[in-house]
Amino acid sequence: MIEFRNVSQSYKDHKVLTDINMTIQSGEFVVLIGSSGCGKTTLLKTINKLTSLAGGDLLIDGVSIRDIPDIALRRRIGYVIQDGGLFPHLTVEENISLLLETVGMPSEKIPARVDEVLEMVNLDPDTFRNSFPAQLSGGQKQRVGVARAFSANPDIILMDEPFSALDPVTRGELQNEVVKLQKRFHKTIVFVTHDMDEAIKMADRICIIQNGQIAQFDRPEEILKRPANAYVEEFVGKNRLWGNPAYIHAEDIMKKAVIHISKNRTVLQALQIMRHNTVDSLLVTSGREHRLEGIIWLKNLQEVKDYSASLEEYITQDYISVYADTSLQEIIDTVDYDASGIIPVVNHENELLGGLTKSGLLATLSKRYRRDSTEGVEE
């Protein structure tokens, strides 16, 4: 657990960090993000004392870092920077074993551990063990950097924009792998980036820094849906949410006023409502809670002779409903594009909350792409 207590930092007369208070839980993946010069890297380096703590206190597992010698502290914390921070005169193996030697691992155990961590980051030890950094691609260097950070098995790993120089494909792969490793080995990772997509993809929680202060520290979804202030909103980008269909749920895009009819009504009443609203189906509910009972279709009522008959016997289950917390992704996957009509949105008690129409879905999606084409430049 890392606790920031009123952490402050200044460079000359300029305040870089002001009263940072935040607690990072063990095993949590926290991304620090903000525009350049906002203090995110300074905040990261405060944790391993590459920047010394000026004001306030920082506790790791309850112990103030002021009470831990710099070198000892750093040996307990993994550190990855852009390009992996590999030493060019050492081979891949030596780059990792240098660190293992300094943390005091017995030398006979080192080669096995080197192979193990290389495999962990999907590098074949026999191929890469004896390579020099100059012989590696950017992605491979970064994998070695990550392997080195994991090698001494620290509880905490700090990553300072590790993937920003990589091409999108490699970056995507590494992002996935690092998250997997983090979950698998239950590491606390503090990760600095300026890339919001990266943050959303990897973080358990995102900390948005604005002028040396925390603007918002929350789960990605919350930040996307409920930005704390205009800065966050602008930083996140209004359209960002639409780029992450997993975070958009049925309730976010449903129409609340959806036409429905009680199952106690008559055929005549139903026909009148349909005609009045020019629709070919009606949702049928019961009780005060509007429990969804089914649907009636116009085509089934047209042959009915007795208009005063109860609707009940004409109700069918010929429809697809979604829960309020179903994601846009799933909705798109489950929608039957041939069927017409409305998609009811219900809660887990099957009470009708609203409805989605295909035209409404189309409007939602097209809104995203319209924004992209006009605002995409800003990203």
Partner: protein
């Protein structure tokens, strides 16, 4: 060419010794610069301001003329190898400081941050990251220093340090191009060899990973370390072994020796050898030759601080340049003033004149002498407007020489040309000039059969040769009171000129000539 080869065969033993001595001095100087420069270079990486100041000073020192630096140091540290090595160190320091500094500060700060970040201590960073990465730069600095040092050490001969510069210096003074080459060629080869070997070392210690990706060849770490270690060991052997031998030699020097100095020209060395042999045969005093001293700016401080015990010089030099006495052309008066002056100001004993004088003369060819009826200086003064003068620069500018001749006697030559060394003999023999200046005992005067004009005007200052002795020499070796005066008034101008001729023209060594003279005079 064949003459050069003969010289080489005759002097090859001496040459080998000088080469070894040269290497020793170079190694010692480079080793010292490496230690001092390396530490300074590392130290100033911590502070930009200090770095700017230190590198500025090192640059400045580099720009001091080496001869000047050498002369400046002699009064403080004496003569011989000590000032020479200090001088070379000063010149060798800059490339090492600069390259160490650049090598270390040129490392990507991101790398050092990574090193700090993964928990390397400052010392580990220096040893494991900074030095290995800076090593090729430092080695390149050592290489530049060593090559420069080989060259600078030749200058050191002017303060009696020996080495190949000794040969060059002798050649320059004897106007013998072969001797100059005999010193210069080995020095040049030595520089090339040093460059080649250190270049290989540099390549061997360059970390494999710093090469371009397609040139990298993997070697197991142990093999790489061995290769680096071998290269560094080779380098260390090259630097340390000669240094130690040089140090051992200088430490094992017998303090209780009589140090006979000699200036860096044939006559001075013949006289030195005469004194050495005389003392060695007549007494049990251990004697050591300290030769090739470059003029009064070296010999006087050397006498004062005891680097030498005696050296011959000329009254016409000592009076104006050491004692700053007014101009005087009376030989007896000048001698007397020099003797008392040296005693009072420095406590030095000045011997009786050795007999010969080595003053300036003006010389013409036999043919010119006949054509213009010239036998004396006063006749020349009359004929000057129709004659061309080709003289040494010092003759043209020294106030007691040509300027005085012009001011007091209204002499105006048809043409005046500054010609140094044996160029002026070639000029007069080929008829480009008619008059030249010479020293009375100059061997080349005899060789070229020039006619010296008699100074019937007492114009030229007297240049009587005397032996200048430290005051404590007679206290330390009272027996010398009987021995040294044996040479008083013993050598005539003609005898001296002939001895110079035997060395400079006939190629005998100064020791052989000295021995021959002593035997002839029945002194040994």
């Amino acid at each position: 060419m064949s003459e050069f080869l003969t010289q080489f065969m005759e002097r090859r033993g001496e040459l080998l010794e000088l080469t070894i001595e040269h290497m020793e001095m170079t190694s010692l100087a480079v080793l010292a610069s490496l230690i001092v420069g390396g530490l300074i270079g590392i130290a100033i990486t911590k502070n930009d301001k200090a770095a700017a100041i230190v590198i500025g000073i090192a640059n400045l020192m580099q720009s001091i003329p080496s001869i000047g630096l050498l002369a400046f140091m002699v009064p403080f540290v004496g003569i011989g190898q000590k000032p020479a090595i200090i001088m070379v160190v000063i010149y060798a320091l800059l490339p090492i400081i600069k390259n160490t500094y650049t090598g270390i500060t040129g490392i990507d700060p991101k790398l050092l941050e990574a090193a700090s970040g993964i928990g390397l201590s400052k010392t580990q960073q220096l040893l494991r990251i900074q030095l290995p990465l800076a090593l090729p730069f430092i080695m390149a600095g050592i290489r530049i220093s060593a090559v420069t040092a080989v060259g600078t050490v030749t200058i050191a001969a002017f303060a009696g340090a020996g080495g190949l510069g000794w040969m060059i210096n002798m050649g320059l003074n004897a106007n013998d191009a072969n001797l100059v080459l005999l010193g210069a060629i080995p020095a040049c080869l030595l520089a090339l060899a040093v460059d080649f070997v250190l270049g290989k070392v540099e390549k061997a210690i360059t970390p494999e990973g710093l090469k371009p990706a397609d040139k990298i060849v993997y070697m197991p770490r142990r093999k790489r370390l061995v290769r680096q270690a071998v290269a560094l060991a080779l380098c260390a052997v090259l630097l340390i072994v000669p240094s130690v031998s040089s140090l051992v030699r200088s430490l094992s020097k017998d303090e209780n020796r009589l140090l006979v100095g000699a200036q860096n020209f044939t006559e001075g060395m013949i006289l030195g050898d005469i004194y050495v042999e005389l003392i060695e045969t007549r007494t049990d005093i251990p004697v050591e030759r300290v030769y090739n001293l470059n003029g009064l700016m070296i010999t006087m401080p050397a006498l004062e601080n005891g680097s030498i015990d005696m050296v011959t010089d000329y009254t016409g030099m000592l009076a104006p340049q050491v004692l700053h006495l007014p101009m005087d052309t009376n030989p007896e008066r000048v001698y007397e003033n020099v003797r008392t002056g040296m005693k009072e100001q420095f406590g030095f004993e000045v011997s009786e004149p050795l007999g010969f004088s080595n003053t300036y003369v003006l010389a013409v060819t036999e043919e010119t002498a006949r054509t213009y009826g010239l036998t004396t200086l006063s006749q020349l003064v009359q004929q000057a407007p129709s004659l061309r003068l080709g003289a040494t620069t010092s003759f043209l500018i020294r106030e007691d020489l040509l300027p005085k001749l012009k001011a007091e006697h209204g002499v105006q030559f048809k043409e005046e040309r500054g010609l140094d060394g044996n160029v002026r003999y070639q000029a007069i023999l080929s008829g480009e000039v008619e008059v030249t200046d010479a020293y009375e005992t100059d061997a080349l005067l005899m060789k070229s059969g020039l006619h010296c004009l008699e100074d019937d005007m007492e114009f030229f200052p007297p240049y009587q040769c005397v032996n200048v002795i430290r005051g404590d020499v007679y206290e330390r070796y009272p027996e010398l009171r009987e021995v040294l005066p044996l040479l008083d008034n013993a050598i005539s101008t003609e005898e001296m000129r002939e001895m110079n001729y035997k060395v400079d023209v006939e190629g005998m060594t100064t020791q052989e000539v000295a021995h021959e003279f002593l035997v002839e005079k029945g002194l040994v």
